[in-house]
């Protein structure tokens, strides 16, 4: 395998709350290769967004804090950079797209000023040139007539178009890595596919890697090269997309797949929800976090936490019984 572009090692992020210390991200490690699309999948509160925010050190501190770990990007540990150093990375080498296109754009500034912002900021380009580039970027994200639309305000755009604007902003400096935090959750189903296709096409064109954070397994199947499934602040399974779908090796991943409809194969299959609630991150059990909801949990699962081990080639699972699941 080539040198990874991003290598997250043993990242732990905690939040101090009234109910005690919340381990939002607990000892998470993963790599992203250049040009690769890694999907991070999980329920709300599984720690996937906090992982994304931690990479760019955008965790609000207080109450949050990155407690330990390394985030190696192009050989540099982002956690050791000073403020100016991390600002130079943000938006230039690593860009981020947020969930809510409605509130991710500043209502008081024109679209042109916002798309031109990263160019002006990182390339020190004069504004007239930055605006030309902004119009070009709007064309790239298929907003027609970009030049005249530069002077519009975000409220004059639809949700899908605003997310296109966010993509244009993210692509402005041709970053090596784009972190998309549930980029389509707030959009209509018909628009979701367009946005994802666009995102995929443009990242491929720019040869950027992407971390796609989502709770939608359908999205993962179509657009991701590799998948990491998060549960209770930890990665419970990670594998290339195809093997993960064909033979998931963690009961949680299995549960997720059983709970969403599939168009291939057995369409008459009933949907099986995962019983119970996601774990309370403030008081995680000593053993496997999923044990309480797992039908096949044994005493060992409740007592000891299973490590993430390689179950098959490139396929890691954090379940004591991953071999039995593979059979």
């Amino acid at each position: 395998m080539t040198q990874p572009l991003l290598s997250v090692r043993n990242l732990s992020t905690r939040f101090r709350t009234d109910r005690g210390l919340v381990r939002a991200v607990d000892d998470v490690s993963f790599d992203v290769a250049p040009g690769e699309t890694l999907a991070i999948v999980g329920e709300s509160g599984s720690g996937k967004s906090v992982t994304a925010l931690s990479i760019l050190r955008l965790i609000p501190d207080p109450p949050g804090k990155i407690e330990s770990g390394e985030i190696l990007f192009e050989g540099k540990d982002l956690l050791k950079l000073d403020d100016a150093g991390i600002r130079a990375i943000r938006g230039d080498r690593i860009a981020m797209i947020f969930q809510e296109p409605m509130s991710s754009l500043n209502p008081a500034l024109t679209v042109g000023l916002q798309v031109g912002e990263p160019i002006n900021l990182h390339r020190k380009t004069v504004w007239s040139k930055a605006l030309d580039k902004a119009a070009e970027l709007l064309g790239k994200v298929r907003i027609p007539d970009g030049k005249s639309r530069l002077n519009s305000y975000p409220h004059q755009y639809s949700g899908g178009m605003r997310q296109r604007v966010m993509i244009a902003m993210a692509l402005a400096c041709q970053p090596k890595l784009i972190i998309a935090d549930e980029p389509t959750t707030a959009l209509d189903v018909t628009v979701q596919a367009q946005i994802l296709a666009l995102l995929k096409e443009l990242t491929r064109e720019a040869n950027s890697a992407m971390i796609l954070i989502t709770h939608d397994l359908g999205v993962v199947a179509r657009y991701a090269d590799r998948v990491a499934v998060m549960y209770g602040g930890r990665i419970v399974e990670t594998a290339p997309a195809r093997p993960l779908y064909k033979s998931p090796r963690h009961p949680y991943t299995r549960g997720l797949m059983a709970s969403v409809p599939r168009l291939d194969g057995d369409t008459g299959r009933p949907l099986v929800p995962i019983e119970g609630q996601p774990p309370d991150l403030a008081s995680l059990p000593a053993g496997c976090a999923f044990a309480l909801r797992c039908k096949d949990a044994t005493e060992r699962c409740h007592r000891e936490r299973p490590p993430l081990v390689e179950s098959a080639r490139h396929h890691f699972s954090a379940c004591w019984y991953h071999e039995r699941l593979a059979a």
């Binding site: 925010l53 760019l56 955008l58 600002r87 130079a88 990375i89 943000r90 938006g91 230039d92 860009a95 981020m96 947020f98 969930q99 809510e100 409605m102 509130s103 991710s104 754009l105 500043n106 209502p107 008081a108 500034l109 912002e117 990263p118 900021l121 990182h122 298929r142 907003i143 027609p144 007539d145 639309r149 305000y153 975000p154 409220h155 004059q156 755009y157 639809s158 899908g160 178009m161 296109r164 966010m166 902003m169 018909t190 628009v191 367009q194 296709a197 666009l198």
Partner: protein, 294 residues
């Protein structure tokens, strides 16, 4: 291809739907009348020296409390001074103090409030504590102390009212900044590598400015009343310079025989304050981005 078509559709719907709605927000007769009134008082105040009116301080001892005539349009006051002229010159003081004092409040208070709302932490605690102290301080005692030590002048009156106005602006700016800082576009700006100063000036200031401007105009109205009250109490600009408040105070002595001497400046003040309030409210309704932006 499908992508292109949908995007094009968006454009068509958006422009046709949004633009007329914005135009339809009409201004209304009251707003126009308010602007005209402020313009008249403002122009009168600026060009008072050039207008063909009698001196506001020249006394005509034979024409005390004279009724309106061709020479004295609104009659004379207790000391035989031209009332119309004193109203015009009084507007000068009311507007100067009324506009300058809130400028102090909006700049100092706005900056403190934005910094407190954005950085939070200990700085916010200090600022809110300081604001509470200032609010608890009796304003009249403060005004008395300043005028007693530094003397009565337009500058001192402006400073006193301006400083007393800081807490209100700080609170408004802090509250707006607090709620805006939670919004994703601030995180998005940080994710783009923006510095704190860039976020404060480019991302937050344009959003905070709108409510602050509306509040500023209400502040102008309040300041005019406060200046009038201080002058009425004799703490305002020293005589013989005319001010609406001091005119009401002087007119009070002859309320029974010449009530218009107190009522005319009162009406001027009332109309001016009302006009500023109307303009402030209308501008806030016009520029409020919230319904459209969210």
């Amino acid at each position: 291809m499908a992508v292109r078509e949908v995007a094009a559709l968006d454009v068509g719907v958006d422009t046709s739907a949004v633009t007329p709605v914005r135009r339809q927000r009409r201004l209304g007769g009251l707003f126009v009348a308010s602007v005209i009134w402020i313009a008249l008082v403002g122009l009168g105040a600026i060009f008072a020296g050039l207008l063909p009116i009698p001196s506001p301080t020249e006394m005509d001892m034979l024409g005390k409390r004279a009724l309106p005539s061709a020479e004295h349009w609104l009659g004379n006051d207790v000391l035989g001074r031209d009332v119309f002229s004193r109203l015009i010159y009084g507007g000068r003081i009311s507007l100067t103090v009324g506009l300058l004092a809130p400028v102090i409040g909006v700049t100092v208070g706005g900056a403190l409030g934005m910094l407190a709302g954005y950085f939070r932490g200990r700085f916010e605690t200090i600022v809110t504590g300081g604001v509470d102290v200032l609010l608890a301080f009796p304003p009249l005692v403060f005004a008395l102390a300043v005028t007693a030590y530094l003397g009565q002048s337009i500058l001192n009156i402006t400073l006193v009212i301006g400083i007393l106005g800081i807490p209100a602006f700080t609170r408004v700016a802090r509250a707006v900044t607090l709620s805006l800082s939670e919004r994703e576009f601030v995180t998005a700006a940080r994710a783009l590598g923006a510095t704190h100063s860039r976020i404060l000036l480019r991302e937050l200031l344009p959003n905070v400015a709108l409510p602050l401007v509306a509040f500023f105009l209400l502040g102008v109205a309040v300041t005019i009343v406060v200046e009038g009250a201080l002058s009425f109490l004799g703490l305002g600009v020293p005589p013989p310079a005319p001010s609406w408040g001091s005119m009401i105070g002087e007119g009070r002595e002859s309320l029974d025989i010449a009530p218009w001497l107190a009522f005319l400046p009162a009406i001027f003040m009332f109309l001016t304050v009302l006009a500023f309030n109307v303009i402030g409210d209308t501008l806030r309704a016009l520029t409020d981005p919230r319904p459209g932006a969210l």
